[in-house]
């Protein structure tokens, strides 16, 4: 039978942390790796009744040895496969790598490239956060949010496609700049298609009649559109009493715990710690741009989600400023496009990816390949919070807490 008398004893031997619920039958089951709620990731969950006693995260189902792979590939050809772990946020993953290699080579990218990098990184941060918010809806049983987020995400993906050539995984950043300049013009059909939605959502025509094909103005128009859309998300999901009931007070990670566990990104900021690599260790064009780092003091799933929501608003602000301030000029240092020489040495560099601080430790021995590349990916650093949070909660709260960490199995496993 499912509820065996002796299972509590068995579980006690198996799991040392089972102290509180010594009596009473327990049920142990795997969530994942084939589960609509977790993705390529497994949690071994032990429950007593409806309460979760223990959660044992088991990553590694999508581990592909990125760090070992880096040792076999050259400095530039590492870039396409380094962005694979987080395809929605490929800029976030390659950004610290590129920064680290630049520090090793002691070079500085041209000014315009810095702004283009910021635009690209922020666009992808929004894309990643939209995925987060949309799937948060799905995990709460609200499929509409997912569809809205993905519908609106299209216009941001179009922007990244115009700049980087592809919808995702652009391989856009290289040491010494970016691979190509932003296009001067936007395809006419896209502008026509977008202006219809602009009118539909904002309820007004583009100021001055027809929307121009100029890239800068188009980006600003998309920013306006997206701001208006963000305001519509709020009453639909984030202010809905049921959603607030589902997330508020669920999965509390206190401030001290957040610091001592070493979590990053919106999880850390949702616990009230104001920490952002873009502010603390500013890189590229971030020092020239004014923006806030949203934090929430709730320390719960709702705070984390709201931090993500407000971060999207901040990112729109950053993109607006970057597009307006972007100077003319070259976008890349003159160097060989695929073979670069990197002097021996070691470096530790960080950048703020969508899910939090992503750091690279790189050691070079002066050859054409890295000696060791260590990726401290944000999801891996947030993984540790999972067993602490998924404990003494209901089964229904597991997906909510899991997804409020914005955990991305591939990024964790690398």
């Amino acid at each position: 039978m499912l509820l065996q008398e002796g299972s509590a004893k068995m579980a006690k031997e198996e799991f040392k942390s089972l102290e509180v619920y010594e009596t009473g039958p327990t049920l142990t089951f795997s969530m994942g790796p084939q589960h609509p709620g977790t993705g390529h990731f497994r949690m071994v969950i032990t429950v007593v009744g409806d309460m979760v006693v223990r959660c044992d995260p088991d990553p590694g189902f999508v581990h592909r040895g990125e760090e070992k792979m880096c040792e076999y590939k050259t400095w530039i050809t590492n870039i396409p496969h380094l962005e694979r772990p987080a395809i929605l946020d490929s800029a976030g993953m390659t950004y610290p790598y590129v920064l680290a290699v630049e520090k090793l080579m002691d070079i500085e990218p041209p000014e315009r490239a810095k702004y283009l990098r910021v635009i690209m990184a922020e666009l992808q941060r929004i894309c990643s956060h939209l995925y987060w918010l949309g799937l948060m809806g799905v995990f709460a049983g609200h499929a509409t949010m997912y569809m809205w987020c993905f519908g609106d995400r299209e216009y941001l993906v179009d922007l990244t496609q115009l700049i980087g050539g592809q919808r995702i995984t652009h391989s856009y950043f290289v040491p010494g700049g970016v691979r190509n300049d932003a296009p001067p013009k936007v395809p006419r059909e896209l502008v026509k298609d977008f202006s219809r939605y602009y009118r539909m959502i904002l309820g007004k025509d583009y100021p001055g009649g027809e929307m121009p094909e100029d890239f800068r103005k188009y980006v600003l128009a998309v920013c306006d559109f997206f701001d208006a859309r963000l305001d519509e998300y709020y009453p639909m999901l984030l202010d809905s009493p049921i959603f607030i009931y589902r997330t508020k007070g669920i999965g509390i990670l206190k401030r001290e715990d957040a610091i001592s566990l070493g979590v990053v990104g919106p999880v850390l900021r949702g616990s009230g710690v104001k920490s952002d690599t873009r502010i603390d260790e500013p890189y590229d064009a971030y020092p020239y741009i004014k923006f806030n780092v949203p934090t929430m003091d709730g320390c719960d799933s709702y705070s984390r989600m709201m931090v993500g929501y407000y971060e999207m608003k901040e990112s729109v602000k950053i993109i607006r400023q970057a597009v307006e301030q972007m100077p003319e000029g070259p976008v890349k240092l003159k160097q060989h496009p695929v073979t670069i020489k990197v002097p021996a040495g070691e470096v530790f560099a960080s950048a703020e990816a969508a899910r939090g601080q992503c750091s690279f430790y790189i050691r070079s021995d002066g050859t054409d390949k890295p000696y060791r590349v260590k990726i401290c990916s944000p999801s891996f650093r947030n993984l540790i919070a999972m067993p602490y949070l998924i404990r003494d909660v209901r089964i229904a709260d597991i997906p909510i807490i899991y997804w409020s960490l914005n955990y991305w199995p591939v990024e964790c496993d690398r």
Partner: protein, 169 residues
């Protein structure tokens, strides 16, 4: 915070460490913008870590790197290096600081004390280093396989003598 401030703080930190621990600090590698690394012996790494946490408020672990140094040029003996990248969040002045605390252990007997009691967040990182490089962390609460498959019976894959299948050339 400007770069010079960070450099100044780090310089003070290292001076303080040298004064406090003396010979136990084997090597200091300060490269502005790149890395600030303090090499200590494995026996006293816990002591240094506790000092850093209590006196310098370095309470935020950013990552643990393990490297197999045996294929580096002019490397006398085969050693593994384990580096703890730590920063601080409770102190506003130290937010931009990343200190790398490292230790070297021999590849034949890779044992070192675990720092999970100092930095709780190092648990998963140490588990990863354990399975990827075979470093045995003494005192780790739950030293188990993390990312590799259950049936993995080959060498630790991030050691240099492990060659990925299909990459022999």
């Amino acid at each position: 915070m400007s770069l010079s401030d960070v450099g100044e703080i780090l310089a003070r930190l290292i001076e303080d460490l040298k004064k406090k621990f003396g010979d136990k600090i084997l090597e200091v590698n300060v490269e502005p913008k790149k890395i600030t690394k303090v090499l200590v012996a494995p026996e006293c790494i816990k002591e240094v870590a506790e000092y850093l946490k209590s006196e310098w408020a370095l309470d935020y672990i950013k990552g643990v790197t393990g490297i197999d140094l045996s294929r580096l040029p002019n490397m006398a003996q085969e050693v593994l290096e384990v580096i703890y990248h730590v920063g601080s969040l409770s102190s506003e002045a130290l937010k931009a600081v990343t200190l790398s605390l490292s230790t070297k252990i021999s590849i034949s007997d890779p044992v070192m004390p675990s720092l999970t009691s100092v930095w709780k967040g190092a648990e998963m990182h140490e588990r990863e280093v354990y399975e990827m490089l075979g470093v045995n962390f003494k005192g780790h609460p739950d030293l188990r396989r993390l990312l590799l498959p259950e049936f993995w019976s080959d060498k630790p894959p991030l050691r240099k003598d492990y060659v990925a299948p299909g990459r022999e050339r």
